[in-house]
Structures are given as structure tokens and as C-alpha cells.
Amino acid sequence: MTLVINGEAVAVPDEVKTVGDLLAHFRLENKLCIVEVNVRIIQKHEYETKALCDGDRVEIVHFVGGG
């Protein structure tokens, strides 16, 4: 399926079914990041259950240096 991740269309393999799968696919499972799907924040305990669908808009953000 194709997701829109951080504004860019990204094709992901069929094994990626949940937010948890998506993070593992990009090797982000141990990174400090926050995920939003279709403008709804996905809490960490939902990662394994939140299913992703073709065309979902996913935002993966983190903390960067700032004042």
C-alpha cells in the first residue's frame, strides 16, 4: 500500500499492517518519536492495534533543537 508519510507518498510492503509494523519497517521502533495518522495522535499503547490503510496520512515527528 502507499501511505503519505510526512507529506511524501511512500510505498510500504504488505507486511506493514499497523503503526507498530510501520515503525519497525523503518527501524524507528526504539526512536523517540510521535505518530499521527489522519490528524489523530496515536498513543504508544495503540501502536500494535492501529491498522493502516492505503492513502493514510501519517506524520512521524520528533524533538529537534529549538529555542
Binding site: G7, K31, I34, I41, F63
Partner: protein, 255 residues
């Protein structure tokens, strides 16, 4: 002690984490500053390079409180969204509300700032709004329930120091919550002056990260904030128009 909401801090210097020449310099500067509150921004992650070093991941989070900002927001709604994302990290419940209303000066939009603060307070955030040095706006933010007020000294990153000490002192005198002078600090004298005016803290970033020697400047800022605070607590002498001799005028030995 600096008290913000339920939290207490012994350092009155809050440090930004942007624009350091390297992660190593940044770590050393943070250490030298003695700061216990560090600001961060929330941005999209580059998902294709997960190995990219991230400062926050190298930080001992038991030693610091995170103060994420809503920088990049131009409306209250955008600020609220960024704040929620930051809180969902599970690492923080303080938020620096920053809603910019002018790209050239980076001055805050007072109306959107007020709206964002109100919405975030309702959601239980510890809210620290970055504001202009407007006395009435500071009052209104305090009345909403903001946990601290953060008026700017001069435009963000400008290093112009305290342009309007009168307004800042009005805000400080009337506030019942901590006033943290945020933005525009250029050198240690500016930080010390803010504290001498009675500010409860100073938040700065570029003054340290952009200095030729950020680590040394971090230490200088720490000392300046401490000196300014001590001076404020000690109570400076009033300014007089004419001289007044320090040595006794009586008992002069005359030949």
C-alpha cells in the same frame, strides 16, 4: 527556587537547544549553563535515516525538564496540535506557546497566543506563553491561568538585549506568576539586567549557541543570571544626580 506550576528549579537559566555547532559542544554547553529546563522544537523526522544522532536521545532525562515549543505555528490551532504531539511523547507536560505573527520580526501574535494558551490550559498543560512585552497582555495571560509569562527582551535571535526595561519591569511588578525574559538576549549583561529588574528567569538560545565559544558563554550566562538575581535580592541603591562621598568628610588631617 524558581517554581513553575508543580515544578521547582534551582537554576533560573532556561536554555534553548537550537543551532549549536556540534552535539558535543551542545552537551558541554548545557552542562556548563547549569540549566534544568531545556527547550526543543517538534519537527518531522527523516524516517529514511534513523541512525541520525538526536540530542534528546543523548540527554539524561532525569536531570532536565523538557520545555517543547510550538514554534512554526501561526494560529492557535496549529500551536495546540504541536503541543499535543509533544505531550504524546510522554516526556513532558510543559509547553512554551509560541505563535508567530510576523515573519520578519518573529514577534508573537497576541490574539492567537491568548487563544492557544486558553485551549492548552483546559487540556491540563503547564503553559508558558512567549509574548511581547505588553503589560496588559501579560495580565490577561496570567488571568487565564498561565503558569509563567515569557515576555521577549527584543526580537528572537537578534541579540539586541533589553529594549524596553520599563515595560518589562511593569510586567514583573504586577505578575503573580514567574516572569521569564525570553528572546533577544545578546550577552551576559543583558541576562544580568533582566534578573536585576526582578525577572524570575531568563530563557536564551542563540546568545550561547551562536557565541564564538558556546561553552564559555553558557558559563558566563549562568553566572550573570546568578549575579543579577543576587543583586535584585540585595536591593540596589537608588540613582542620584550628584556624587556622595564614600570616605568620611570629618577628621581630615590637614597640614
Amino acid at each position: 527556587m524558581l517554581k513553575i506550576g508543580p515544578y521547582e528549579f534551582s537554576s533560573r537559566l532556561l536554555l534553548g537547544t537550537g543551532k549549536y555547532p556540534s552535539l558535543d559542544v551542545q552537551k558541554e554547553a548545557v552542562e556548563a549553563s547549569g540549566a534544568e529546563i531545556l527547550t526543543f522544537a517538534v519537527r518531522r523526522m527523516n524516517i529514511f535515516s534513523p541512525e541520525q544522532p538526536n540530542f534528546l536521545e543523548q540527554l539524561d532525562l532525569s536531570k532536565y525538564k523538557l520545555l517543547p515549543n510550538t514554534a512554526g505555528a501561526k494560529t492557535a490551532e496549529e500551536a495546540v496540535r504541536i503541543a499535543r504531539l509533544a505531550k504524546a511523547s510522554g516526556l513532558c507536560d510543559m509547553i512554551k506557546v509560541e505563535v508567530i505573527g510576523c515573519d520578519k520580526t518573529l514577534l508573537p501574535d497576541p490574539i492567537e497566543t491568548l487563544k492557544a494558551a486558553e485551549m492548552l490550559l483546559e487540556e491540563g498543560f503547564i503553559v508558558l506563553p512567549y509574548t511581547s512585552d505588553d503589560v496588559v497582555l501579560a495580565k490577561r495571560l496570567e488571568e487565564l491561568g498561565c503558569h509563567a509569562i515569557m515576555p521577549g527582551a527584543s526580537p528572537i535571535g537578534s541579540g539586541q538585549g533589553i529594549i524596553n526595561p520599563l515595560n518589562l519591569s511593569f510586567i514583573i511588578e504586577q505578575a503573580n506568576v514567574p516572569v521569564i525574559v525570553d528572546a533577544g538576549i545578546g550577552g551576559p549583561a543583558d541576562a544580568a539586567l533582566a534578573m536585576e529588574l526582578g525577572a524570575d528567569g531568563v530563557l536564551l538560545n542563540t546568545a550561547v549557541s551562536g557565541a564564538a565559544d558556546p561553552v564559555k558563554m553558557a558559563k558566563a550566562m549562568k553566572l550573570a543570571v546568578e549575579a543579577g538575581r543576587l543583586g535584585y535580592e540585595a536591593g540596589r541603591i537608588p540613582k542620584k544626580r550628584y556624587a556622595s562621598a564614600s570616605s568620611p568628610t570629618e577628621g581630615m588631617s590637614v597640614v
